[in-house]
Amino acid sequence: MNSSFINMEFLIDTFFVALSGVPIALLVTVVALAIALPIGFFLALTRINEIPILNGFTKVYVSFVRGTPIIIQIFVLYSILPLVLASIFERYNIDFPIYEVNTLWYAFIIFSFNTAAILVEVFRSALKTVNAGQLEAAYSVGLTTAQAYRRIIIPQMLVSAMPNLCTATINLIKATSLGYAISLQEITLKAKVAANVGYNYLEAYIDIFIVYLILCITVEYLFKVFEKRLSRYKAVATA
């Protein structure tokens, strides 16, 4: 065993550097989810109810997001967005300092854009698991559609959506690691910057690995707890 191979001191120091990127990674995750959840749900409804134009739009949108690597999405949006906005602002003489916008905003937009498309599919399949009879029963006792969704359909749908939501969240957290490409001050970038000084890349990647592992396992655990609470009503039928 070659002890000089891994620099323990650096490994430990950089662990904390990597850890300091966690708040940003989580912030991006939470904001992206907060934006993507309602949009994803709304678009899922347009798919299920086959609303003419929106349905087609959603299909293309989802197929693009699922069909192309996220790193490419990040890059394309990061390049195009300011160009498009700048030329729009120019045309309408809006004086907005588009280039002084913090990268964090790009991260919010990009990851929301991506996550919303993923959630469309999550919600669509979850909605399908709720028996149509539930909606009919709600109607039959005099609930309106909105009331029926809020009180009966969504709580049940969430339960079957939970595992996929968990996966989507974990994938989102992992995807923020690609935020390094747009200078997002998250885990990977921080560790890599630290590694650059002495070229301690292997150590840095081990640290990144550990941080993500802790982060994602925690998230996984929280989801499990939440799922259990949500699905109380599914209590094993005692025959």
């Binding site: 191979f5 390049s79 280039y99 390094y180 650059n196 002495g198 890349y201 292997l202």
Partner: protein, 268 residues
């Protein structure tokens, strides 16, 4: 690094019975004009061409050039996957713990700021910092990052806002011209290739942006820690080369300028 890897490097015997050691020299395949792959798929660039000259002077070695990425080059040379690597690397104290820096530097690199024409008066980093300007992100594994970071360490009261990013997402010249940032760090050769060469991608911007050199820096090949012998051989060859005009010619070919003329002003 470790001892065993040495055994594995191949050896060949030439017709006249001499033992020839095959060594792998990695280069950053995306580092035009220092190191890159030309249209025919061959390794070239200033650093690579110098190493080819070195190879010619070292009959006991045969160089095998391996194109790769920055990150891989650094780790690969450190681990011994490659025996040496060229990537327009600058010297830092920390790096000497991981790699052998030879006695003789490989070449010179002119680093400067890309600015809009109207900001021509910004001559160096301290002007830039004083003006409170924004700098395009630099890849964390790029030596330019270290240069700026070192400037900031030396001038804690007038630092440049430094951001790490990724090479391929930042189109420096375009960003400056758009106004997305006020300035960006660039190597002179790259600037000339993009903007000043007819047919270059941003030749149309030649009157819009300027290049203001702030430093000329020595660049080094990196050797694996166990390759002292190889590094010594390199030193011998390079000293020989510096007696000739060959390096100057390559500098003109790839950077459009003989940087050795300003060698006495180079600080690091």
């Amino acid at each position: 690094g470790n001892g065993e890897s040495e055994k594995s490097s191949g050896t060949k015997t030439t017709e006249d019975g001499q033992e020839v050691r095959v060594v792998k020299v990695a280069y950053d395949q995306a580092g035009k004009p220092m190191t890159f792959i030309d249209e025919n798929g061959n390794a070239t660039g200033y650093d690579v061409e110098v190493m080819k000259l070195v190879d010619e002077l070292l009959p006991e070695y045969e160089f095998e050039f391996v194109g790769t990425t920055n990150d891989d080059l650094l780790i690969g040379v450190e681990q011994g996957k490659y025996h040496a690597g060229v990537k327009n690397a600058f010297w830092t104290e920390e790096r000497t713990q991981k790699f052998i820096f030879p006695q003789e530097f490989l070449g010179l690199s002119s680093a400067g700021l890309v600015l809009k024409k109207e900001n021509e008066n910004i001559k160096d980093l301290s002007d830039f910092a004083t003006a409170g300007m924004t700098l395009a992100p630099i890849a964390a594994n790029n030596a330019q990052y270290t240069v700026i970071a070192e400037y900031n360490d030396a001038n804690p009261d007038n630092p440049v806002k430094l951001q790490a990013g990724e090479e391929f997402t930042v189109d420096v010249v375009q960003w400056v011209n758009e106004g997305r940032v006020d300035g960006g760090v660039i190597i002179e050769g790259a600037f000339k290739g993009q903007v000043l060469t007819e047919g270059g991608p941003y030749y149309n911007l030649k009157d819009e942006v300027v290049y203001n050199e702030f430093a000329v820096i020595k660049t080094w090949p990196l050797f694996n820690k166990n390759e002292q012998e190889f590094a010594d051989a390199y030193d011998k060859a390079l000293a020989e080369l510096k007696e000739t005009d060959k390096l100057r010619e390559l500098s003109v070919e790839f950077y459009g300028r003989d940087l050795f003329e300003v060698l006495d002003k180079v600080e690091r």
